[in-house]
Symmetry: C2
Subunit: 197 residues, 2 copies
DNA sequence: CACATTAATGGCACACGGTGCCATGGGGAA
DNA sequence: TTCCCCATGGCACCGTGTGCCATTAATGTG
């Protein structure tokens, strides 16, 4: 008989993505990203190196947490947005939710983003994540507008949305008292006219 | 007695950057970037693996050729541009020269760029190269305008110049009969108004 | 010619990231 | 208990990249 997904079965997991990420961020903060080895992280997290690679495909992926899974969720949500909702509003709301402060809280998210935006090896890796994110936005715009996903009008909006979002993150990181949601709201609002309709 | 730089001395080099790059591009084309090991390249180039790493800091750097050295040249040229030459013209001319077809000829450059723009590992690495390039442009704009290099007006022009340059490359790659210089000329021309003065 | 000088080369050992494979462990279900 | 699942951990292995050092091939000097 088949079983529902998510049901308890087999050997229970001995850790979580969040737990590993939290431990890793501590080590990165203290010793630097390059200087911290995967063995260090695994040991500190109380798991084996091999298990660590089952939770994160690479060391570079650790600070990105469950970004890829979040992207799937973002895409799903955009697909399911009511058709009478304006394009810009659907995008605006979905992106704000996508960037809602995760479980770990604000401080952990600041540490994560500081690391991502300030470490060369991670900046390089981030280019791939950004490309995926832009792709999701571009595909949504394409569907709504009835154009091809690689149509320049869709691609450009992907770039624009990412650009202003990153600007919002920069501002947020530069000001301890800033609110990420507000920054994103303002930044994306600047694009409203370009979304049209 | 001291000797001039560039004078023959010591053991002569047994190869060149161009030679290694050419051999490597052949292998990348034939077997794929990931599937080609540094040992393969070294063997095909007739040098040792260790020497290969003295010519290129990493496998990722091979398709970029002597980009970093070219950047230094670009920066130097921008610095030395006559002060009565308009900002946009100095940038326009310098960027066109920077992207002039290298020694290897057009076909090799197309292979190089196709590889750089189409291989994930290289796309990630390229983000670092792009950042350096934008930095050079931003610093030049900052000096000319009397603003800080991280002033948003300088940074934005760096992004804009890179963006339209990449668009020119995409067009060039998509059309076998296109001329890279013309594409860049047109693309950068679209920015002329934004350079002001 | 012999010898010092200079600089590039190649070999080796090693650290680290990442993967394939397999045996073990720990839970629920019949 | 026994079977089924599946997460875990250990191990061997590959590829990239680096530090170190002896060697080699050229020039310059006595």
């Amino acid at each position: 008989m088949r079983h529902e997904r998510g049901e308890m079965f087999g050997r229970p997991r001995s850790t979580t993505h969040d737990s590993i990420e939290s431990v890793a961020l501590d080590l990165f903060d203290r010793n630097g990203f390059e200087q911290t080895t995967v063995d260090d992280i695994a040991t500190a997290a109380g798991i084996s190196r091999r298990t660590m690679f089952r939770y994160f495909a690479s060391k570079n992926d650790i600070p990105w947490g469950r970004f890829s899974e979040g992207l799937v969720e973002l895409a799903r949500r955009l697909e399911e947005a009511p058709h009478d909702e304006p394009l810009w509003r659907a995008l605006h709301d979905a992106i704000l939710d996508f960037n809602a402060l995760p479980e770990g809280g604000e401080e952990q998210h600041r540490r994560r983003m500081r690391l991502l935006l300030g470490t060369p090896a991670l900046q390089a890796h981030s280019a791939l994540m950004y490309a995926e994110w832009r792709g999701v936005v571009a595909r949504f715009v394409a569907v709504r507008r009835g154009i091809a996903p690689d149509d320049v009008r869709a691609v450009v909006l992907g770039h624009a949305a990412l650009g202003v979002s990153l600007a919002a993150y920069e501002t947020w990181l530069a000001h301890d008292d800033a609110d990420l949601g507000e920054q994103l709201d303002t930044a994306l609002g600047a694009l409203r006219d370009h979304f049209g309709e």
